[in-house]
């Protein structure tokens, strides 16, 4: 059990590191908050997300039979290794994709029955969610633009400032409620029942956020598309809302992929959209390959065990 707790804490830490630029980029990058205060804001939102909605994530829905502790433990180990490797190599990856694929791979290798119905729902969600976010962001940004049409510079800036705090809090909350809670659910399935585990995971994830790293948001907002603050915030807000909605359905989804949809949706609202196709291809290839790697590694690992 201790090993499971340690691995899940390590995964939460690595996951936080992977997403650290939510705080770094959005708040400290433009010096809206000091690094310590930004980290505190993100940490409190994550803790709230795990505590309030953490129970909604259930990896066992991917199986037709009883929950598999071994598959959950394997998924945790493989996800940690892959996420760590990707972070060191600065490759954008998705925890929800890797962990789900690893869980399915390990369970299948152990002879467990996979719930094709739920797995199909998860895959459809992965593909459809960014497209829905793309469309929703376009609509929402249109409304924001109309509202901001005759607003003074000072009001617009104050609105942006407030929005950044609120959106960063909301994104952190939704991220923890879906992704960190998925780690928690895997750990629980693998036999870690400590009541302090949600707190430990939220803190580990926050600690990961505090580790300086240039993550996926930096890649998307600066390298993939050139966005104004309002577009960036609208994209992030819609992505977080999609994450929260899928949390209600117990489906793990990636914030990064929804952010991609959000940022593209925001970028496409203007006639000249600055989208770098090469970066987009690299992102999609990286997500697909790391998901397949998670599946294959977990399958092989479970076979060896």
């Amino acid at each position: 059990m201790l090993e499971v707790v340690l691995v899940s804490i390590a995964l939460a830490l690595v996951f936080g590191w992977n997403n650290s630029s939510i705080a770094v980029g959005a708040l400290t990058g433009v010096r809206l908050l000091t690094y310590r205060r930004a980290s505190l804001l993100v940490a409190s939102a994550m803790l709230l997300g795990v505590v309030a909605e953490g129970w909604k994530m259930k990896p066992s829905l991917l199986l037709s039979g009883a929950p598999s502790g071994e598959a959950a433990a394997t998924a945790l180990a493989v996800s940690t290794a892959l996420m760590l490797g990707a972070n060191i190599a600065a490759i954008p990856v998705s925890l929800s994709n890797i962990a789900t694929a690893a869980y399915v791979g390990a369970a299948y290798s152990a002879g467990q029955q996979i719930s094709i119905d739920f797995l199909t729902r998860v895959i459809v969600a992965w593909v459809a969610a960014p497209l829905i976010v793309l469309a929703a962001t376009s609509l929402l940004y249109g409304a924001v633009r109309r509202l901001a049409r005759n607003v003074s510079l000072a009001t617009m800036d104050a609105f942006n400032r407030l929005s950044v705090y609120a959106v960063v809090f909301y994104v952190s909350y939704a991220l923890a409620a879906n992704n960190v809670s998925f780690i928690l659910a895997l750990a629980r399935e693998a036999g870690a029942y400590s009541g302090l585990l949600p707190l430990a995971l939220a803190l580990a994830c926050s600690l990961g956020v505090m580790l300086v790293g240039r993550g996926i948001m930096g890649v998307m907002a600066e390298s993939l598309v050139i966005l104004s603050p309002q577009k960036l915030l609208t994209g992030l807000f819609t992505a977080a809302t999609m994450l929260w909605l899928f949390t209600q359905l117990s489906i793990p989804v990636a914030l990064t992929q929804n952010m991609l949809g959000g940022f593209l949706g925001a970028a496409l609202t203007t006639r000249i959209a600055l989208v770098k196709a090469a970066t987009l291809r690299k992102l999609i290839a990286s997500w697909t390959l790391t998901t397949l790697a998670g599946l294959a590694l977990a399958y092989a690992y479970a076979l060896l065990l």
């Binding site: 010096r31 908050l33 510079l153 104050a158 609105f159 407030l162 104004s228």
Partner: protein, 234 residues
């Protein structure tokens, strides 16, 4: 009805508190523009004084340009300090610093041009000839027009925003017209340059180029306005 009013107030009150420092800074930015525009206005009066006024009047106006430029410089320093220290205008920090710098450049160019003007030998035939040309009068007016148009664009940006782009383009138009006028003036200065003292030619040429920097700085400032609009602030 009372509940609705209270609700609106409850939303607006903290918001108005939050944007208080932004509004203060915006007002000071507009004040800095006003001072820059006043510097150019005095500079234009100086050009007229060179044509027909006394030495005392020229000296007095030059002193006023100098004093106003110092005030603009001081305003730039204070605004820049505030922008760097606060957490407001987080996404526009670089643009606003650039904008105050350009507003300062307007006054700075006016001051340098005014000093050249003060030192011009007013008895010189070339100086008399050039300053009696209609183009010189028009040139000084275009400098003032470009700065005034910049002010309109700035006010539009900070108060409403929707027409700032159109007004910023107006600054560009004035700058182009001033450029054409500068070329015409330079041609006239150099037309029979060999028949005039070379120092007069050089000083006049310097003056015309320096005055052109006023319009260039105004155009650069209008480019910053366009950048701010492009960032979604309009």
């Amino acid at each position: 009805m009372v509940v609705v009013c209270l609700g609106v107030w409850a939303v607006r009150w903290p918001f108005s508190l939050l944007k208080r420092r932004e509004e203060e800074l915006v007002e000071r930015l507009l004040k800095q523009w006003e001072m820059s525009a006043e510097t150019v206005r005095r500079f234009k009066e100086l050009c007229s004084a060179v044509r027909g006024g006394s030495h005392e009047e020229v000296d007095k106006l030059c002193g006023e340009v100098d004093r106003l430029e110092t005030e603009v410089d001081e305003a730039r320093r204070r605004i820049a300090e505030d922008i760097c220290a606060g957490s407001f205008f987080a996404y526009l920090r670089d643009d606003l610093l650039n904008l105050v710098e350009k507003l300062d450049s307007i006054a700075d160019s006016a001051k340098v041009a005014a000093k050249i003007l003060r030192d011009l030998p007013r008895e010189s035939a070339l100086v008399k000839k050039i300053f009696n040309e209609q183009e010189m009068e028009r040139y000084a007016q275009l400098c003032l027009d470009s700065v005034s148009a910049l002010g309109d664009a700035l006010v539009e940006l900070v108060r409403h925003g929707s027409g700032a782009v159109k007004l910023a383009h107006k600054v560009e138009e004035y700058e182009e017209a001033a450029d054409a006028m500068k070329e015409a003036l330079l041609r006239k200065i150099l037309q029979d340059a060999e028949s005039h003292p070379i120092l007069d030619v050089i000083q006049l040429k310097d003056f015309v180029n320096q005055a052109d920097n006023i319009c260039d700085a105004a155009e650069d400032a209008s480019d910053v306005i366009l950048q701010i609009v492009a960032k979604g602030y309009s």
